[in-house]
């Protein structure tokens, strides 16, 4: 099972990767911006993508639209902050599967990840 974590903060990526590994996800790919994410999602079949909202090069929401536009129906969890609540509404309409508000506790993340990875 492969999961893609997209975030411009390396720390954030590592934390999420650690959590995922703790859940038994063997392969966690990382991307540091939306453009990379779109590219990787096109090449590899992921079980789930955790997509940060605010990133350089390509915003998370635009990456999501690009992924969906390519016909890829992989579950995408938008990782956002409280202030982007309204945009999340739009993101879900654009095809996001779920969202996770930062800062989040490990338990909240694990619960969310379990749901989408069907673990």
């Amino acid at each position: 099972m492969k999961v893609l974590v997209v975030d411009d903060s390396m720390t954030m990526r590592k934390v999420v990767a650690t959590y995922l590994q703790g859940m038994g996800v063997s392969e966690v790919d990382q991307a540091e911006n939306g453009a990379q994410a779109v590219e990787m999602a096109a090449k590899t079949e992921y079980a789930c993508i955790f997509l940060d909202w605010n990133m350089p090069v390509l915003l998370g929401i635009d990456a999501l639209r690009a992924i969906r536009a390519s016909g890829n129906q992989v579950p995408v969890v938008m990782v956002t902050t409280e202030t982007e609540k309204r945009s999340v509404v739009q993101a879900i309409k654009d095809g996001a599967s779920d969202y996770l508000m930062k800062p989040f506790q490990k338990d909240a993340f694990v619960e969310r990840a379990r749901r989408h990875l069907k673990l």
Partner: protein
């Protein structure tokens, strides 16, 4: 369209169609018949007319023949006479004088008389002008016909007669030639007697009079003949000697030819005949036609009348036996439907399909009434249920308008019963300035309705969980939650909005928060009233000081150090007030601190900034006075008056008193004893000033829980030597520095959890404080296992800030580099947080420990592993 209208329309159009078809048929039959009669008649009339014209022409021909014959008879009288027979051979005078006189000859009404003997010699010949009664010359053109054995003189037998027409250049001439024989008509023939009569205008006049016809004559050899005559001439044939032509509606022309003696056509006669028969034919046809119209009209009239009568009859039957009954039935049923009076019944008299239908309707009404009753009962139950629920319930349609049914509580909360059909955002007052919020709510509701993701997931995105709502003069807080109403696959989802009045809840929460704060404050006070008194007196002192400074502020550059000084004071108040749970005071101080920070960093100090500072300071002072008043009630004394209060155990005092009272003196050692006593008393008094480190450092420790909560970092705190006695003044001064150090350790030293995980450290940070006595010194150590200090980074920062020149930088050892943090103006915190503030630096700490306590502070650190501060101060401030 009602049944009645439809029936009328159908029957009406059927009748019209019937009438039209019948009309069509009768017209073709009747008119066809009449037309046949008409054409037959016309043909008959035409035949009659032609025959009549033929006859008329024949009459003219006959009349002409008659004239010639008349001439021939006259000639016979003269030719078959012995006198003439004698005269032709002897030319006797007597015959001439008795018969051939001018009067005798003119009485014959002929134009010509010739007596020719067999040799062709004209014995007697003369011509007359009948009009003038004079003798004229015989026309020369006639001479050619008088030769022996010519047409006029050749007679084969005594009965021979030559008669006919000669077309002389002057006029056509009727001519008769008879053989001259005896009175007994015996021969031999002695010559020919010829009579001639010009066929002139007068002659034709006579013909017209006799025949009552208008006759025209045309010579065949004429230079010009009319077109119709020429046409007729071409058409004549032995079988068709007479031609008839209709010239116009009034006149008919008959043509025929008259031949000369040589049987060649000489004249064409045209007889004009008035078309009386034709006129009669036309009049008859017209009469027939009008008769036909009358017949047709009366036929159509009777068909229409029959149709109307038939239609009326059908309608009357339908109306009386079906339509009016159905209409009555329908009216009644509609009335029942509209009034929802399902107890009502319909009726229809008689025994047929309609009365059966009425029966069925009644049965249905009965069933309907029963189920309606059940529905009403259910509705009432549901209404009651909805109205009993304390929450406001209302459902929204796919366009987020309020559906008719809602609970009474909803109407109460929203202050109106008129909710039906209104846009939900409008009901909530999310219009005008708040329209954006309304749009956001609609976007959210839309997402919920679309069911793209689980309902619980969407619930977290509710943009308006709580709403301050004013209606009908009452303001309240509403909690709004939304749930999906699935109405089946082919209907759009609706949304259930649940409104809760949380005004009371909010008020209670606010109260709880206030009392929690008060509680915190009370606990702080109860735990250490001295500490609280101390806080109050220190705050009063700082406030007085900064107010004094503020009074000197103006909009000049000279104010800049004053602003910095005021900032420092306010910063202290903020931190300490926070640790005593005095949130309002802390918030005010924080606000002021922020504006002061802007002020001290501004390029120029503006006057309104100065005024603002004074006003805010006054507010802060007022708030502080309130705190003091509150504390007075609790502590019952002049709490902020300054000075230090000590709590001494009465047992201990008693013990000291007992011990002092039991002291005895030896004379010889009086001085020494006195000195020893002094020493002992001082020691004991000093001991009285000492408090356990735990208590003395309470102020420093107090900040920890709040600090950890705000930063959200898991940190384990350890305190060693908490019972170590420390002089109360010393420990007090130590607090100032220690608070600072603890804040720094937790805020900047300990990394955020994720960073620690990444660095392979336990998620929970560790901070330890140790207090111990070492040879008359108090040693305080504060250590953390955080990120530590990087000498290189410190050097770089110092260089950047101009605290260090490059030469000096090179000389500094790693350990010495750590000491840079104590230099004025140096701060390692890149980020400003409300915890560590904005550069109340380590220089103040160093200053406090060195100058006020006569001690020293050292720092040891390795990057990534942590930092350790060691403070060594004399146990007592007094040298004694």
């Amino acid at each position: 369209m009602t049944l009645r209208t439809k029936t009328f329309a159908v029957i009406g159009s059927a009748l019209i169609a019937l009438v039209v078809i019948l009309y069509g048929i009768s017209q073709s039959v009747v008119q066809g018949g009449f037309r046949k009669v008409e054409t037959d008649l016309a043909a008959g009339f035409a035949q009659i007319e032609n025959r009549d014209a033929d006859r008329n022409v024949q009459r003219v021909v006959d009349a002409l023949g008659f004239r010639i014959e008349n001439l021939s008879l006259k000639a016979a009288d003269w030719s078959q006479w012995d006198d003439t027979y004698k005269f032709i051979v002897d030319d006797n005078k007597a015959y001439r004088e008795s018969n051939l006189t001018k009067d005798a000859l003119s009485a014959l009404k002929i134009n010509l008389i010739l007596l020719v003997d067999t040799s062709g010699k004209v014995v007697f010949g003369t011509a007359f002008d009948l009009e003038n009664g004079t003798e004229v010359a015989v026309p020369q053109s006639l001479k050619a016909y008088l030769a022996p054995q010519s047409l006029l003189t050749k007679h084969s037998s005594p009965e021979s007669v030559v008669e006919g027409l000669l077309l002389l250049p002057e006029n056509p001439l009727m001519i008769v030639s008879r053989p001259i024989v005896t009175s007994e008509a015996a021969g031999p023939i002695r010559g020919s007697l010829i009579f001639g009569r010009f066929l002139d205008d007068a002659e034709f006049e006579r013909l017209s009079t006799i025949t009552h016809l208008s006759i025209q004559r045309h010579r065949v050899d004429a230079a010009s003949t009319p077109a119709d005559v020429r046409g007729a001439l071409d058409e004549f044939s032995p079988r068709k000697p007479i031609l008839v032509r209709a010239l116009n509606t009034d006149t008919m022309a008959g043509y025929t030819t008259v031949s000369d003696l040589a049987r060649k056509p000489a004249l064409v006669l045209r007889v004009d005949i008035p078309r009386e028969i034709h006129r009669q034919s036309v009049a008859t046809q017209e009469a027939i036609r009008s008769r036909g119209r009358v017949v047709l009209a009366s036929l159509v009239g009777s068909i229409c009348a029959a149709g109307l009568v038939l239609g009326g009859l059908i309608l009357w039957i339908l109306e009386s036996s079906v339509l009016s009954r159905v209409a009555r039935l329908s009216t009644k049923a509609v009335h029942i439907g509209a009034s929802e009076d399902f107890a009502g019944r319909v009726s229809a008299e008689g025994k047929d399909e309609i009365s059966t239908l009425a029966g069925s309707i009644n049965t249905m009404l009965e069933a309907l009434g029963a189920s309606h009753g059940i529905i009403r009962e259910r509705n009432a139950e549901v209404s009651l249920l909805m109205d009993t629920v304390p929450a406001g319930l209302l459902s929204l349609d796919e366009e987020f308008r309020v559906n008719p049914e809602h609970s009474r509580a909803a109407a109460e909360m929203l202050g109106t019963d008129a909710l039906r059909g209104r846009a939900f955002t409008e009901v909530l007052g999310l219009t005008g300035e708040r329209e954006d919020k309304g749009t956001e709510l609609v976007e959210f509701l839309d997402l919920l309705r679309l069911e793209l993701v689980p309902e619980e997931t969407v619930a977290g995105l509710n943009p308006l969980e709580e709403l301050h709502f004013e209606a009908g003069g009452a303001a309240r807080w509403l909690r709004l939650r939304y749930f999906l109403i699935r109405r089946g696959s082919d209907l759009p989802n609706h949304i259930l909005a649940v409104l809760e009045d949380i005004t009371e809840e909010k008020r209670l929460a606010a109260q709880v928060a206030t009392s929690q704060r008060e509680n915190l404050q009370l606990r702080a006070i109860a735990e250490d009233p001295d500490l609280f008194r101390e806080f109050l007196s220190e705050t009063r002192r700082i406030l007085t000081e900064v107010e004094g400074l503020a009074a000197r502020l103006d909009a000049t550059e000279a104010s800049r150090p004053l602003v910095a000084e005021i900032f420092r004071g306010v910063h202290t108040i903020k931190g300490v007030a926070g640790s005593f749970g005095l949130g309002d005071l802390s918030a005010l101080a924080s606000e002021l601190e922020t504006s002061l920070d802007h002020l001290r960093k501004a390029d120029e100090i503006p006057q309104d900034g100065v005024d603002q500072t004074r006003t805010s300071l006054a507010h802060l002072s007022d708030a502080f006075s309130e705190v003091v008043e509150g504390a007075k009630k609790l502590l019952g004394d002049d709490v902020a008056g300054g000075g230090l209060f000590l709590r001494i155990s009465s047992e201990e005092l008693l013990r000291h008193m007992v011990e002092i009272r039991s002291l005895t003196l030896d004379d010889g050692v009086k001085e020494a004893v006195l000195s020893r006593i002094k020493e002992e008393v001082l020691r004991r008094l000093r001991a009285l000033r000492e408090v356990p480190a735990r208590r003395g450092l309470a102020r420093s420790l107090k900040i920890l829980p709040g600090l950890l909560e705000r930063l959200g970092k898991p940190v384990a705190f350890r305190f060693e030597g908490e019972d170590t006695p420390v002089d109360c003044d010393v420990v007090q001064e130590l607090n100032t520095s220690l608070i600072h150090l603890i804040r720094n350790a937790v805020d900047h030293g300990i990394e955020p959890a994720d960073e620690r995980v990444e660095a392979g450290k336990p998620e929970e940070g560790a901070v330890s404080l140790a207090v111990s006595r070492q040879d008359g010194d108090v040693v305080v150590t504060l250590a953390d296992d955080g990120r530590g200090l990087d000498p290189q980074k410190l050097k770089a920062a110092a260089l950047r800030k101009g605290i260090l020149d490059p030469a000096e930088c090179g000389r500094l050892s790693a350990e010495e580099a750590l000491g840079l943090i104590f230099r004025p103006g140096f701060s390692t915190a890149e980020q400003v947080t409300d915890v560590s503030g904005r550069g109340v630096g380590m220089d103040a700490v160093l200053d406090s420990i060195r100058q006020k306590l006569g001690g020293d502070i050292r720092v040891a650190s390795s990057p990534g592993e942590g930092t350790r501060f060691t403070i060594t101060v004399p146990a007592s401030l007094q040298t004694g």
